[in-house]
Symmetry: C2
Subunit: 216 residues, 2 copies
Amino acid sequence: MTAPRKPTAQKHGTAKKPARSRIQTRNRQIILEAALEVFSNNGFRGATLDQIAVQAGLSKPNLLYYFDSKEAIHRDLLTRLLDTWLDPLRMLDPRGDPQTEILAYMRRKLDMSRAYPRESRLFANEILQGAPRIETFIRTELRLLVDEKACLFQAWADAGRIARVDPYHLIFSIWAMTQHYADFAAQIDMIRDDGQEPHAGAEAFLEHLYTRLLTP
Amino acid sequence: MTAPRKPTAQKHGTAKKPARSRIQTRNRQIILEAALEVFSNNGFRGATLDQIAVQAGLSKPNLLYYFDSKEAIHRDLLTRLLDTWLDPLRMLDPRGDPQTEILAYMRRKLDMSRAYPRESRLFANEILQGAPRIETFIRTELRLLVDEKACLFQAWADAGRIARVDPYHLIFSIWAMTQHYADFAAQIDMIRDDGQEPHAGAEAFLEHLYTRLLTP
DNA sequence: GTCTATACTCTGATAGAC
DNA sequence: GTCTATCAGAGTATAGAC
């Protein structure tokens, strides 16, 4: 079964990525999935290893066999999240039609918020606490990308291709609007009190809103 | 010194509100102020009585002389908050001009978010965790008020006095947009990286946005 | 009313058998 | 790799002197 693996001599000096067996990868995945559930609902301090262990169907010491610490699990989760967090904005094409592009961006963010509400809440928890663990990410990668796209929006406005609006507030508003349906889902559910998912009707509303806002 | 107080016979059966001396009221106030600071930055589980005690300049046991428990401090804080949380929406006048009224409501929410960012984050923390302690409030008082105003917005739209938009999403969007500047202030500050307060420019942007959206 | 000392519980992490 | 047992520290709450 297991093909005789070479000693995997870690060619590149420091043993950064220890080769992982199938069962290792699988269990790490199970733990991360469970941890996402628990961290997103309770925040870092509110979550306990016990909860995560139960959710994962593993024992507490076993969790710590796969990860160095509670902190390490959380860090891993955040790192993976940030990796994809920027994609929707990155995909925004400077050569496309301005209004179409911005609406498509809003739609991608809304889709992410619907497909990955736990990731959104994990992120929201982190920002609410002052973003201690992702400050670098925000100050560098995110900031750079936002500046770049804000510049583009400004150029579009200057050229009369979209209405004159502050490009930064435009981006903030898209974040606020789309993430709200994931982060405040509990409130929305309780107010609606029908069986509908919190995002129901949001796309049509936001399309209408941003079309109105951006048409020159 | 202490004037011989009558046994304060608590006329109304159960001793609900023990009469409080000046120093009691004052210290309770100091504790609540400190607790707001700590809870809003760390969430309920993330906050410790030690932090609150230091922030308040009192000893830990002294905190528990004025409040029964950590939970009690938090509950008191939330109760006071919810009391005023609905005011901006309550003030919305059915007899006023629709667009003016909705814009004024947005402005009041934005002003609250600027003047009371810690309260906003306290609330956000609570919702993020699934609103366990304020579920009743949301399902009754808040829901009732929202339903009432949503009904009004619908009537205004039917009468052609504002554009046709989903009234619930309209309200959600105002919450999302205005609270974002308090709840995600850390992120906004890091992206802007000028000295400006997070709310800078928000009012003009949102006025423009909602004027565009609502004009029939 | 306020403080020091302390009891007790929860939780992150480790030891060591299997 | 996984488990039981357990430690050490943090954190809420109480006792009791002043």
